[in-house]
C-alpha cells in the first residue's frame, strides 16, 4: 500500500511542480530550475546509496564527467545541445562503468574511500589539463551551444530552464519509480538487505552492483550535462569533494521512499538554505544548525542504519 502511495506521489510531483510555476515570483522560478537539475543528481545518488546501500563519496566526478562531456563537446566540437547531452550521458556512463568495475569490488568504508580517491584523481586531472578544461576557472559556452539558446525562439530563458529541467526530472522520476517496482529493483533491495543470501541463491551480486552504480552514474552525469547546457558554464569546482557530500545530505533528509525522497530532500535543503540566505547574515551557520536540528527531529533515518550496518560488516 505504502509503495503504491509513494509511486502515486512520484507521478503527481512533476504535475505539481508544473502547476506551481505560474504562481512563483521570478527569482523563485530561477532558483527552482537550479534545484530541479540537482534533484536529478539526487535521484542518481539515491539509486546507489538507497537502493543497494553503497555510500559513494565520489559522485561529484560522475556529475562532472557529464558536465565535461557535454560542455567540452559543445565548446570544441559542435554547438549542438542535444548531441552534447548524449555525449555527456555517454561519458558519465563510461566513467561509472570504469569506476564501478574497480570500486564495487569492495564494500562499506572501502567503497567510500575508493570512490573518493577516484574522484579526487579526476578533479586534479581537470585542474592540471587547464588548457582543455579551463581548470577551476572553467569555460563559458556560447549561447547557441546551450539548450536555452536552442529554445530561444520559443521560450524565455527562465521558462526554458524550468521546463527543460522539469521534463528531464519527470523522465528520471518515472524511470526510477519503474525501476524500484521492477524485478531488478527488488534484486537491488535484496542485495542491500542481505547480499549473502542473494549470492547463495546464485545471483551475481558483483554484476548487480555494477549495474546499479552505472545507472546511478548515468543519472548523475545527466544532471551535470543539463547543468552545463542550461547555464553555459563548466568548471572543476563541480568535481570537488563538497559536491559529493551534498547528495548524501539530500537523500538522508528526503527519507526512505526512493520515488519521492530524493526530490523532497533536495528541495528542502536547497530552498531552506536559500531562505536562510535571505533572512540572516550568517546563513552557513544557519544551515549547519538546521542540519543538526533535522538530525534530532527525525527518527525516520533508521533505514540508513541498515544500509551502513550491512555494508560495514563486509568491509
Amino acid at each position: 500500500m505504502r509503495v503504491k502511495i509513494s509511486a502515486l506521489a512520484a507521478l503527481v510531483a512533476p504535475l505539481a511542480l508544473a502547476a506551481v510555476y505560474p504562481l512563483l515570483p521570478e527569482y523563485q522560478r530561477a532558483l527552482m530550475s537550479r534545484v530541479l537539475i540537482l534533484s536529478i543528481y539526487s535521484y542518481g545518488y539515491a539509486v546507489c546509496f538507497q537502493m543497494i546501500g553503497l555510500m559513494s563519496l565520489g559522485h561529484a566526478a560522475l556529475f562532472a564527467s557529464g558536465m565535461y562531456g557535454a560542455g567540452l563537446y559543445a565548446f570544441y566540437v559542435s554547438p549542438d545541445p542535444l548531441a552534447a547531452l548524449l555525449v555527456g550521458v555517454a561519458a558519465s556512463t563510461l566513467l561509472s562503468i570504469l569506476f564501478g568495475l574497480v570500486s564495487t569490488r569492495v564494500g562499506g568504508s572501502y567503497f567510500m574511500i575508493g570512490t573518493l580517491l577516484a574522484s579526487q584523481a579526476l578533479y586534479l586531472a581537470a585542474l592540471h589539463f587547464n588548457e582543455v578544461t579551463g581548470g577551476e576557472q572553467g569555460l563559458v559556452l556560447k549561447k547557441e551551444a546551450t539548450i536555452v539558446g536552442a529554445l530561444g525562439p520559443l521560450l524565455s530563458e527562465l521558462d526554458a530552464r524550468y521546463f527543460t529541467s522539469l521534463a528531464a526530472l519527470t523522465i528520471v522520476i518515472v524511470c526510477v519509480t519503474i525501476l524500484s517496482h521492477s524485478r531488478l529493483g527488488r534484486l537491488f533491495h535484496a542485495l542491500r538487505d542481505d547480499e549473502g543470501k542473494l549470492e547463495a541463491l546464485g545471483y551475481n551480486t558483483s554484476a548487480l552492483k555494477l549495474v546499479a552504480f552505472t545507472i546511478s552514474g548515468a543519472l548523475s552525469g545527466a544532471s551535470g550535462a543539463l547543468q552545463a547546457l542550461l547555464y553555459g558554464y563548466i568548471g572543476a569546482g563541480y568535481a570537488g569533494i563538497l559536491n559529493s557530500v551534498e547528495p548524501v545530505l539530500w537523500v538522508l533528509v528526503g527519507g526512505p521512499y526512493i520515488q519521492v525522497g530524493p526530490l523532497l530532500g533536495c528541495l528542502a535543503v536547497n530552498l531552506l538554505s536559500d531562505l536562510a540566505r535571505g533572512l540572516l547574515r550568517g546563513h552557513v551557520l544557519t544551515v549547519g544548525a538546521g542540519l543538526v536540528a533535522f538530525a534530532f527531529a527525525t527518527g525516520r533515518l533508521r533505514w540508513a542504519y541498515r544500509l551502513l550496518g550491512v555494508s560495514r560488516g563486509r568491509g
Binding site: I113, V287, G288, V292, A295, F296
Partner: protein, 289 residues
Amino acid sequence: MFPLEHLGLALFDGLVNGSVMAFIALGLTIVFGIMNVVNLTHGELYMLGALTCWLLVQSMLPYASALIVAPLVSGGVAVIINMLILQRFGHEPGQTILATFGLLLILQQVALAIMGPAPRSVQAPFNPVIELAGFSYSGFKLVAGLVSISISLLVWLVVEGSRLGSLLRASQENRMMAESLGIDTNRVFMVGFALAGALVGFAGALTSPFRQIHFLMGFDALAMSFVVVVLGGVGRVGGTITAGLALGLLESLTALLLTPTLARVLTVALALLYIVARRLGAPRGGWRY
C-alpha cells in the same frame, strides 16, 4: 634520470610528513575505525587544536601550554558533541552524518568569527636548521615527526594491548551483549571520543608552528584522515600508522619524478589500486563480470 641527489631528502621528508598524517588520522581510527561512528567533525577538532594554540600564543602564553590546553579543548568539544547530540540517537549513521556535517559548518563559522578569515601562524619554540646528509631540515618539524610517531605507537600499544581496545570493540559490535555483561557502553564511547578528540587536538597544536592556521583547514585533514584510516584497514591502529608513513613516502617519491599534480594523481591512483587489491581477497561469488 632519477634525481638521486635528492633521494635522501625525499625519503626523510616523506617519513616525517607520513608520521604527522598518521597522527592526525589516529583519532579517526578510534572513532570511525573501531567505534564505527562516522564523525565528520574530526578535521574541525584538529582545527580547534590549532586555533587554541594560536589563541594561547597570542595571549603571550608559552607554546608548551598549548600542548596541554589544546587536547583538553578538542577532547572536551568531542565529548560534548557526543553527549549532547550523537549519543541521543545512539550513533545511528544517517543522523550522525547529518548532525556532524552540520557541526562541521558551525565550527568553521565559529573559527571564522574568532580568528578572522586570514591565515595565522605560530612561532616555533625552537627551530634550529639541521644539516643532514646533503640537505637541511627544520629541527622543529623533525621533533614533531618524532613526537607524532612515538605517541601513535603508544596509542597502538594501549588500544591493542589493554582492556580499552576490547571494550571499544565490544561496545560497538554488540551493544546489548556488552551491556548485559555489565559494561557501561555510553561511558566507553565517551572515553573513546575524549581520547580521539584529545589526540587530534594535540596534533593541531603540534603542527601549528609549521602549518598555517586557517578556519578551513579541517576539511582537508578530514579527507586525508579517512583515506589513511581506510588504507590501513579499518579499525587497525597499526595499519593506520603504516598507511600514513607509506602515503607520505609515496607522495615524496612521486614528486621527485613527475609534474607535481600528476604525481598527486598517481599517488591517489596507487592508493585506490591498493585498496582494491587488498580487499579483493576471495569474494564468495567470485568475479563474474
